[in-house]
């Protein structure tokens, strides 16, 4: 509609050169306090907002960062991680004049192409890499593209900047909690094996049990979905005598734990009297189901905040990519009513 007010208009109004306007508004030296005030006044009066397009071209920056979600639609739908994670990212980006581009790729290949396109036309200045997989192809890709990136909950040895929330303390606390309740027969329902966090959680669980001198027990592969929890419950519980069943089960995330819980109830098990069940994540839904879900609560929002901070720092670090990793406070055990004393063997 009405033509935009540009830096030229401001310069004309203030009676100075456009370079002076630029210097004044960006707080660069070389302009007297007096004219600076005059320029600022003119800019304000005209309602001048610097054009991102002009700035982008000149600064060779997009002032935009990207997040490519690489999950199949259903998991994304019911996963509360991203809402909070993105919310956290936003709080950092917005005040610094950056925005977030969100893309979704259902297929891993598709996801890679998204990164490639994003980088090719320089749409973003950097990317987040979440839901890391084992031998994740995105890592060599961003290295090859020279695209600034930060990883979320990466393994040690990760070649890029990373933000992490440790899971080991919380899972150790969970094991200690269960051991303290007298449990001796355990089981673990994992997430899809291609995700490293599924492996990380299993590992912490096994280590803690081993440290307690107890057998690790059964391990069945789940898929992070409600349905996967149901399936796991069928496998671990259906048609088994009490002495043949685990008495304490950890599922790799809350959603599958809730599925497990539901199915266990249908199978006639009383929870936590006959069986203790715990999850991992700390989603709100876990406080609503009955029994309420014991879990290890993570903080995706804070993870988003720190990831964004790191990414901007990486982008604005001219030289190498020597930005230090950040560890936020570990995830912690939250005891609710889905765990209780081990049943008396009869």
């Amino acid at each position: 509609m009405s033509n935009r007010v540009t830096i030229v208009d401001v310069a004309a109004k203030a009676g100075v050169a456009i370079s002076s306007v630029s210097s004044a508004l960006n707080n660069r030296p070389g302009v007297s306090e007096d004219t600076r005030r005059r320029i600022v006044a003119a800019a304000k009066e005209l309602g001048f907002v610097p054009s991102l397009r002009g700035r982008s071209l000149s600064a060779k920056r997009a002032f935009t960062v990207g997040l490519v979600v690489h999950r199949d639609p259903y998991v994304l739908e019911s996963d509360p991680f991203f809402g909070s994670f993105i919310g956290g990212i936003e709080t950092v980006l917005d005040p610094r004049g950056y925005a977030l581009i969100l893309q979704m790729g259902s297929e891993p290949v598709e996801t890679l192409d998204r990164y490639r396109t994003l980088a090719a036309n320089r749409r973003v200045d950097g990317v987040f890499i979440s839901d890391l997989g084992v031998d994740d192809p995105r890592i060599p890709l961003v290295l090859e593209l020279g695209l600034p990136a930060v990883g979320v909950n990466a393994d040690p040895g990760f070649p890029l900047t990373a933000v992490r929330q440790s899971h080991v303390e919380g899972i150790r606390e969970l094991v200690e909690h269960l051991v303290g309740l007298g449990h001796t027969r355990f089981a673990h329902v994992t997430g899809p094996h291609e995700f490293i966090h599924a492996a990380q959680r299993l590992r912490a669980w096994s280590d803690a049990l081993e440290a307690a001198g107890l057998p690790v027990g059964e391990i069945v592969e789940g898929d992070f979905t409600y349905d996967g929890g149901v399936a796991a419950a069928n496998g671990l519980l259906a048609g088994r005598a009490i002495g043949d069943r685990p008495t304490a089960v950890m599922c790799s995330n809350d959603l599958s734990a809730i599925g497990f819980l539901g199915r266990a109830g249908e199978l006639g098990l009383r929870i936590p009297d006959d069986l203790s069940v715990a999850g991992f994540d700390g989603i709100d839904l876990g406080t609503y189901v009955r029994p309420t879900l014991t879990t290890v609560a993570t903080n995706p929002r804070l993870l988003g905040v720190e990831a964004a901070r790191l990414l901007l720092e990486t982008i604005e670090t001219i030289d190498g990519m020597a930005v230090a990793d950040v560890d936020i406070e570990p995830a912690r055990l939250v005891v609710r009513t889905s765990t209780g004393p081990a049943p008396h063997p009869r």
Copy 2:
């Protein structure tokens, strides 16, 4: 890193002017088939990708559209709508070279500011307006800003282009289903009254009952959350004799219906024997809970696809904003096991 290959490099390699390269690559007339081929070859060989930044500045377009989510974090977390909606948007945007900027504002005021900033520095070429409220302030805002926009599930009379999925057929089917099962005492748990879709659903429910010649029954305000469903169940069911209770309840969304279901179970009611419960949305979780949830299933993904199509069309329509609305196929009743024959009065 390595300096980018630009249109100048391609022109040099092909031995033509840069304007010819531009014409050739954008399939504009005025360049012979022969040189066009030569240019395309040179571009391919050099791996030329036009810079979005240069294009943006020249074309006065950002090739980006925005979605500002204006919900409180918890609702977003558990709401499956956005995952699918965004997924649908993506499938249209990507092939046309557009990207989606996602912003989140928890406070309505904050949300408005986001739109304002987005428009001020021309970061986006258009926006989606979802979760419309009554007298939504975003409508006058985008009109004032001259920002192309499309509304999602807007009321009739909406002054901008809109995409809609009708809810009335599905809700009518639900009422007919319940009436056919012999129910006569109904109740409705609404969503927050500031959202128009909450009002739209209540209206369709009331109209259908009225058309069936039955009393509308009790109406309690919920908030679209699991917790809100629990609270509604307490209000409608706790401490009431059977003859004093509704026998069929519709909740304005699935999540609250699932909360309602859970609380009703705790209160000792058998579902669907003592009480029928239905929701609205068609989220996957509804197929996992027991009993499985009867609902009216919407199609957020398709809504996203059509919304994106419309928005791009609006943006690319030079003149007025004469882009026709789109109605996708209505939401439909999905009968599961949370609804059944009305209990025999005793």
